[in-house]
Amino acid sequence: MSDEYTKINVNIGGCKNCLSSLHHLLEKYADIKEYTISSEKNLISIHPVHVKRVTSLLKFVGLDMKDVDNHLSVYSKDSKTESNDDIYFLPELDDNSQITSRRSKRKRLDSHHPTMKQNDHCIIASELVAILPHEVECCRPHLVPGWCVAVYSGHHLSKINQYLQSSVPLPGELSHIKRIDSCRSYENKSTYVFLQIAKPSYTWLDANETLDSMVQLLQLNSSDHQIISTSPTPCWIPLRAPITRKHQLLYSFSNESQEKRFSSFRNSLNKPIILGWPSTLRACPELEELVNVGRSLSLSCFSELELKKHSLWLERVSTLSKQAQELKNIHPQSCAGVGGPACAVIIVDPESNIALTESTTPTTTSDISWLDHAALLAVSAVAKLKGNTGNQYSDSYLCTGFDAYFSLEPCLMCGMALLHNRIRRVFCCQKLAGDGAFTNASRLHVQEQLNHRFRVFSPP
């Protein structure tokens, strides 16, 4: 019993940034060695003596937790009472306060082969959104604890910055952190300067020592309006660099409603807790355009004329699947499994806006196969079409540069077949919950380990 690990469910939903901030919190801040994290199962296995502390920390950073095993009553007496800095970083009412600016949209469905119904609603292209990596879609700030100090704005800030840069330099993984919090407004013309990440080797005492050395060496004092407090202030900063402008705003907690809600956080010593921190964003205009697909027309990567073209093809593929649905009642080749709706695919050359192939399941051929999903039929048809021209070893058998329109999101087999064929973009009329290749945990189209990536658009 005492050797059995306690399991804590945490919903990180495939985001690597959530996973790395979780590792940082447990390993580098809390100095816990006896734990494992299974990101596939959204599970932490941890030694029971740490459960109470870890659940408090995880609850504060906003990881949705469920089903904490009933070990707290057994080990609450034996919980380690060694000194740590949680008293600074956790608010007094830690049962009621939680940093979750938005509830996680991603919920995992555990059903196998869901019986899906055909959508009667014919979707138009302006309703589609880009399916992006989990890190881009994650709405959590990925906070980890650190130390900062309150100072007045003025010329002495550059001296403070230089001193801190030489005495407690930031590690390379925190290069996105701006040392001086000059973006947000505090009262009395004050601002905060970041000292260092909180670690077992850099506790409140170490931060206080750094502060004392800085005050003495730079001859700062509070009467000259240079420094406000003579003790370090706890703060939570984002562990990872922001990916989009939305993340930059989220990480700095500069949204007005965010600021009001969290500005009164105090720990049990009645000291303020600073949440979020300004970060440097390496802008990626292409990604910003993708984020705005389906949300802001002027900022999106699609013009109105393009959306009309895509809407016509989506309407066509919906019509095809409805026609195929009426042919037979059994569709063994549906991506949704046995009993799923009929599927239709159109592969289009976007330069000429001409359909290269249209395919549906079921087919009327005699040698029917369980592998004859609509996508496989379509890419094979394109291969035959292009194989008739060109020599044997040309690359022309791939779907390079082509768009594919699907009535239903492809399964893993069809999604990977599209990847092998180097498709350019995929548009789906309907998502396939659980087994789809693009909108679930796998997200084949944005995998770094694979040698091809492409764009996918589907309903939100």
Binding site: S380, A383, Y397, C411, M413, M416, L419, L444
Partner: protein, 89 residues
């Protein structure tokens, strides 16, 4: 596995990715195949996909049901199947 390896060597001689595989049912090889991507100019013709289609043919010729045969089959393959072929299997 030797049959799969021979097929992989054959694939290599034909300038294919050298993958071969075989389905075994009751100790008998009932379907086998190798990578045919370049020969058929179809990027989906991996060894496993080719062999599954031949397995379906074998089931039709012998009046067997695929789902009953498949649960009893063992797959021998020279290279770990990719995501597409794993999903197919």
């Amino acid at each position: 596995m030797d049959i799969a390896f021979e097929l992989a060597c054959e694939a290599l001689r034909c300038n294919e990715v050298p993958v071969g595989c075989a389905f075994v049912y009751n100790g008998e090889v009932i379907a086998s195949g190798r990578n045919e991507v370049n020969a058929t100019r179809d990027a989906t013709q991996h060894a496993e996909m080719v062999t599954i289609r031949r397995l379906e043919q074998w089931c039709r010729n012998n009046q067997k049901e695929l789902d009953k045969i498949l649960v009893e089959c063992d797959l021998f393959v020279t290279v770990e199947p990719c995501i597409m072929c794993t999903a197919a299997v």
